[in-house]
Amino acid sequence: MAPEINNVYWEDVEVGQDLPQKSRDIDTTLIVSGAIWASHDFMPVHHSRDFAQEKGAPDIFMNILTSNGLMASYLEQWAGPEAELKRMQVGLQVPNFPTEGNKMDMNARITRKYEEAGNHLIELEISGDNNLGPHVVGSATMALPAKG
């Protein structure tokens, strides 16, 4: 069965609305593949446990491009294929380590809804939390399709 494709329309969302939470398991494969394979980041703190520990970290940890990409994907998968990401801003707090059972809970809340230059826009506060606390905190702007 083909997966159902839902577009979220600008008219149907409200300021204050929370997006459904999604979670992603944080393991070594995700961290290493995210750094080297997806984002071309070869800093050894993202793939070598020995190196990371020698430099004072308890383990390897996720690079910012992977964290940012996971948050962007979370928004894009909620909004559907006709939405367009216009802006993202993220800051990292506690790292994503591949600790047994660790996961990142991704959340977003719509904080503004407006029209500009023919675009139907929303702004969102976004956050990703792991077993130690907030990992990524930021905001995003998306254009959503309108019913017209």
Partner: protein, 160 residues
């Protein structure tokens, strides 16, 4: 150049730097697989915009031997002073035009700010360096401007 001199590089921008390859399906697929986006939700001709920075990362080989651009000189000065770790801590991206399959990207990097002294951060002591990347396509259209803030440090101090 040593650390006492690098503030003169703030505000200086590199020349255009060419991405190593044209935008290809395999680059996009690697990103999409990792992010687990459903295929039906992809516009397969367009790159996920948060991926843009992947075309500006240092290559594994050949290593660049001489720091010639302003941002390279800043990072080299920190490396030479023993601040060899580079960890991204903040990223602000604006996407103005889509990146399509086959596009040849170029980017310029401007040094926006450097901590005047070593600071305490959540990852330990170090210097914050903010760099503004301006990405363009082969037509000269700006596709994205991104401020990337990294921490240069000797050693990490983290809770676990």
């Amino acid at each position: 150049m040593d650390l006492s001199q690098i503030q003169v590089l703030v505000g200086k921008e590199s020349g255009p730097i060419r991405a190593p390859d044209e935008v290809s399906t395999s680059d996009i697929r690697h990103w999409r697989e990792l992010m687990e986006g459903k295929k039906e939700f992809w516009n397969t001709d367009v790159t996920p915009p948060p991926m843009t920075m992947a075309w500006a990362m240092d290559r594994l080989w050949p290593k660049k031997v001489e720091a010639t651009e302003p941002h390279e000189q800043v990072l080299q000065a920190f490396d030479d002073a023993g601040y060899t770790l580079t960890v991204g801590i903040a990223l602000a991206q604006e996407y103005s035009n889509p990146i399509r399959l086959g596009d040849q990207l170029t980017f310029k990097v401007k040094v926006v700010s450097i901590s005047p002294t070593e600071e305490e951060t959540k990852l330990g002591k170090g210097y914050r360096v903010s760099l503004l990347y301006t990405f363009s396509n082969q037509a000269g259209d700006v596709i994205s401007m991104q401020t990337y803030t990294i921490l240069k440090s000797h050693r990490l101090e983290m809770v676990s």
